[in-house]
């Protein structure tokens, strides 16, 4: 039984293998053929009997393999669906035991002949570039298939015969073509469907030049070369022979398109101008054109073979079987034409575009074009075109260097000569801000804006690290260790690697800034010294500097200032501060106009060295100086007010109490006003130091301590900090927020008020010295009385009383009048009386003028405060309104709108004028009337 079975297998196998053995070749004799067949048979058998290592599980998955293969090879799932249908039918039939094995066999046979299922060269459009690997072989097979695919093809000579006798020679064709056209019954190359009416059609068409001639020329035409019938008259036109029938012309029209497009594109690829991206576009298009050329080569092979076949075989069947017609060529080149068309479109649109714009353009095709063919094609182009872009990107995010000779990257380095000097805030160009800039127009659409910003920041930071922080070692190390290949298509990896680079770079930069360059220490130091946080230091400095600064500005010497500064540092807690910080602290005079006293031009300075000046810019330093200036003024006013206050408080217990009858009232008033001023100054100081600076400082600190803050964040936070302290600190905003109308800025108002206070303080000092003088005079007077009493005279003479009665005051140096008075006595003249009265008058005048001045200054102070409070109450900022409330907590001041009041006054005056003029006219009228009445009465 087993023997029987193996016999059966053997014979079946023989039959099968026999059918596969190549038929006898032309030149092969019988014996050789026999031998070959025998050998092949033996080998086949041994292969079969050997078996193979294939596992059962793999065989059992055959249907799955087939389905996947069908899905893979065919664009539409139709075939796979059909297979599924067949497979389920196969399963339902009980006849076979080895269904899967058979399927596997079929699968293997199919698999081993790749591409054989594709009849058209471009069935798989997506693989245009690498389509023709092994294509000639395939074509041969196709021919061979024709040979052995059944008895109905027997008339066709086999491929080897055709080829052996063929021998292409250019001269041979026209004659043959002619001969063919001269034979009317033989059908022309009409691409008609097979059928009985073929002969009829053949009679209808007589084509000149014949289609095979056109076909023969076609490969040349497709490469953009002129041929006998198709002539390229210019780069964009081709001349078709006029004798052709219209269907052929229309076919040639569609065939002419790739020819012309190819011409244009090959011209484009020959050019060599443009940036890196356009060069890479050129290269990519060149590659595509090469694959197009290989298509043309295949076509040429096809055409030749088929022409030869047709030549050999005159039957209509042979012609049709050869199967190359103009129409078929159109079909075959269709996808290639689309590719060419797309490339031409890209080339045309890319003329004005460079770099990122070009990439965006192609990316637009790949991402938003509805046709999957166009999408895939553009995608493939993009992979090549973006290569230089990604190279630049890599250099930028790993080395921090801009390698962009054609300005194609979206980060650009502005030309220093053309840099616009628009922002007055930055006096000097900042390395961080201005060295590179982001050019949104060059940003390719393959990366999002956020991402581009990130990339920009990475590169900028690296560059900054390298060139400004002297940390190029780290950068080199980093670029060595972290550099990864970037390319198009792998978005996830790209994002991940960029994120990673971003993180490391930012961490490094922030760390460097805070540790190596002590940025945060500088912030603190500036706040301590320039913003007067270090109270003991400032108090000491002010105390020690006060005598110097009262003198004019030009008599200030730098060495005294610095020595006083040194003194203040040594005697306050500042001495424990970082020497690095103290080294940067400097005192100097600001250059101001003449006539200033030291107070106005003194300033403390904190020197910032690069790279910290990226954050604490020149502009920021200016703002700090401004704030310091204001604070210093306020401090000075506070200082002098408190000095005066102290003096009059201690004086009131001693000296002043004895002259209370004279100036007690004045002093009371003065004390009230000074108290008011002190309150004002205190509130102002409290507000600026605690409500403004400390609050903003807190925000700044939060920003500084944030985990993943970048240098940009820091700069931003610091800018915000400065803006808030200058704005809320009454320094900024010279214009009215809502109306835009220019108004007295708070700063000038404050300056005025502070000046006012100082003037008041001076007058109070005058009052004090006046009181002292009065006191001394009285002392001396009583001393004189005692003296006289001791001498046994009257204590007070009439002469003494006279001046004092007249003025109840006396000259400050009444003691000095004694010898004078004696001389007067000696001259026995009353002339001293007018003299004394003059002195007393001057005395009195002094007091009166002092009083008037005090009154005037205090009212002015009040009105100024009222104005300021009004402005404060109408600020949009809550904190500033709060300052107004704090200053006027018991509503002792009545805020007035000066401007409106003035307008009102003007309005009132105008109305008054009108009223008066009306009255005048009315009176005139009345008079007229009255006279009329009178006249009437008279009558």
């Amino acid at each position: 039984m087993g023997d029987n079975r193996s016999n059966r297998v053997d014979s079946t196998l023989n039959a099968l293998l026999d059918s596969f053995i190549a038929p006898r070749a032309a030149g092969e004799d019988e014996e050789a053929f026999e031998e070959r067949a025998e050998y092949a048979l033996e080998r086949g058998k041994s292969t079969v009997n050997q078996g193979s290592s294939i596992t059962a599980s793999e065989i059992n998955q055959a249907h799955d393999l087939i389905r996947r293969k069908l899905l893979r090879d065919n664009a539409s799932p139709e075939k796979a669906a059909r297979f599924g249908n067949l497979y389920s039918r196969l399963l339902s039939t009980p006849v076979l035991n080895q269904k899967w094995s058979i399927l596997y066999l079929l699968y293997r046979l199919a698999e081993e002949e790749p591409g054989e299922h594709q009849r058209g060269p471009l069935a798989e459009s997506a693989q245009l570039a690498n389509l023709f690997h092994g294509e000639p072989n395939e074509k041969l097979k196709a021919l061979k298939d024709l040979d052995d695919s059944g008895p109905e093809h027997a008339s066709l000579p086999n491929g080897s015969d055709v080829l052996s006798n063929g021998g292409f020679s250019g001269q041979e064709y026209p004659s043959r073509a002619r001969s063919r056209t001269q034979k009317p019954p033989v059908p022309k190359f009409n691409h008609a469907e097979p059928g009985d009416d073929q002969d009829v059609e053949a009679k209808v068409y007589t084509i000149d030049p014949p289609e095979d001639a056109l076909l023969r020329d076609l490969p040349f035409n497709l490469q953009g070369l002129s041929s006998a019938h198709l002539n390229f008259t210019s780069s964009t036109t081709v001349k078709l022979p006029p004798t052709l029938p219209i269907p052929i012309i229309s076919l040639l029209h569609s065939l002419a398109e790739p020819c012309l497009l190819y011409r244009g594109l090959s011209e484009f690829t020959q050019a060599s101008n443009g940036g890196l991206v356009s060069q890479s576009l050129r290269a990519a298009i060149g590659i595509e054109l090469r694959s197009y050329l290989s298509l043309v080569a295949t076509l040429e092979g096809e055409i030749r073979r088929c022409l030869t076949a047709a030549e050999k075989d005159d039957t209509p069947m042979g012609v049709r079987k050869a199967g190359v017609t103009l129409k078929r060529c159109v079909i075959w080149t269709r996808d290639a034409t689309m590719g060419l068309r797309l490339m031409t479109l890209v080339v045309e649109e890319s003329e004005q575009k460079i770099g990122g714009q070009l990439i965006s353009l192609i990316h637009g095709f790949s991402s938003s074009h509805g046709d999957p063919f166009v999408g895939a094609f553009a995608e493939r182009l993009l992979t090549r075109v973006t290569r230089p872009f990604y190279d630049m990107l890599r250099r930028w995010i790993y080395d921090g260097e801009l390698v962009d000779p054609y300005h194609e990257f979206f980060v650009s380095e502005p030309d220093p000569s053309t840099r616009p000097d628009v922002d007055p805030r930055r006096v000097e160009t900042s390395v961080w801000e201005d060295k590179y800039s982001l050019d949104p127009s060059m940003m390719p659409s393959i990366i999002s804006a956020d991402f581009a910003k990130k990339i920009f920041l990475i590169g900028k930071s690296l560059n900054f690290l390298r060139h400004n922080c002297g940390d190029s070692d780290w950068v080199i190390e980093h670029s060595k260790s972290a550099t990864k290949e970037l390319r198009y298509g792998d978005t996830a990896t790209l994002e991940a690697s960029i994120d990673e680079a971003y993180k490391t770079t930012m961490t490094r930069l922030t760390r460097l800034m805070s540790h190596k360059y002590h940025l945060f220490t500088h912030f603190t130091a500036i706040k301590k010294y320039l913003l007067l946080s270090q109270g003991d230091f400032i108090a000491l400095l002010m105390e020690s500097l006060a005598p110097h600064l009262d003198r004019p500005a030009y008599s200030q010497y730098r060495h005294t200032l610095t020595s006083q500064l040194e003194h203040a540092i040594r005697h306050s807690n500042a001495q424990y501060d970082d020497p690095e910080v103290l080294r940067r602290l400097d005192a100097r005079m600001v250059e101001l106009g003449s006539g200033e006293i030291g107070w106005d031009s003194f300033t403390l300075e904190y020197k910032i060295s690069p790279p910290c000046d990226v954050v604490i810019t020149q502009w920021a330093s200016m703002q700090y100086l401004k704030v310091f200036n204001l604070l210093w003024r306020i401090k000075r006013v506070e200082f002098s007010l408190s000095t005066t206050w102290r003096r009059c408080m201690t004086g009131s217990r001693g000296v002043l109490s004895s002259v209370e009858d004279r100036v007690g009232g004045d002093w009371k008033r003065a004390r009230c006003v000074i108290a008011e001023m002190v309150h004002f100054v205190n509130q102002l100081q409290y507000y600026i130091l605690f409500e403004v600076i400390e609050a903003s400082w807190d925000q700044l600190q939060t920003a500084m301590n944030k985990q993943d803050s970048t240098l940009d964040d820091l700069i931003e936070a610091h800018k915000k900090y400065i803006n808030s302290i200058t704005h809320k600190g009454l320094l900024g905003n010279p214009r009215h927020a809502s109306t835009g109308q220019r108004e007295d800025s708070f700063l000038s108002q404050l300056h005025y008020i502070l000046k006012n206070m100082l003037a008041y303080k001076d007058v109070v000092d005058g009052l004090y010295s006046y009181s002292i003088a009065e006191f001394t005079r009285r002392q001396e007077f009583s001393a004189q009385i005692e003296h006289r009493t001791a001498q046994g005279k009257w204590g007070i003479t009439e002469r003494d009383l006279l001046p004092s009665e007249s003025s109840r005051a006396s000259t400050p140096i009444s003691g000095g009048t004694q010898p004078y008075r004696q001389s007067v006595l000696l001259s026995d003249n009353d002339s001293p009386l007018p003299l004394g009265s003059i002195g007393a008058g001057a005395d009195k005048n002094l007091l009166v003028s002092l009083r008037a001045r005090l009154l005037q200054l205090s009212t002015e102070f009040k009105s100024r405060i009222n104005m300021l409070l009004y402005d404060l109450a109408h600020q949009p900022d809550v904190d500033m309104r709060f300052l107004g409330v704090v200053m006027n907590f018991n509503e002792v001041y009545k805020p007035v709108n000066v401007r409106r009041q003035k307008a009102k006054e003007r309005e009132r005056e105008r109305r008054e004028m009108e009223r008066r003029s009306r009255e005048v006219s009315a009176v005139a009228g009345e008079e007229g009337e009255g006279s009329g009445i009178r006249s009437a009465a008279r009558a």
């Binding site: 070749a25 069908l70 497979y87 006849v95 052996s164």
Partner: protein
């Protein structure tokens, strides 16, 4: 006669199966014609390893190809 009926039926079934298989083979472009296919089916039903058979067939086909190519080269 039931036995004859069943035989007829079996034949009918077998043809059906070969029909299906031929269609699959067409789908896959294996270039096997019907007699070849039925030979293959019978071989495999008799326990021949499909992998080995496939190898043998493709070997033979390649030989034929080679032969042709050699001739082409000769011509050239």
């Amino acid at each position: 006669m039931p036995s004859k009926d069943s035989k007829e039926e079996k034949k009918e079934k077998a043809r059906e199966v070969v029909d299906i298989l031929e269609e699959i083979s067409l789908l896959l472009n294996t270039h096997l014609d019907r007699p070849q296919l039925s030979l293959c089916v019978s071989l495999i039903e008799n326990g021949v390893n499909p992998e080995a058979l496939a190898t043998a067939i493709s070997d033979l086909r390649r030989d034929a190809d080679d032969l042709q190519r050699v001739e082409i080269k000769d011509v050239a």
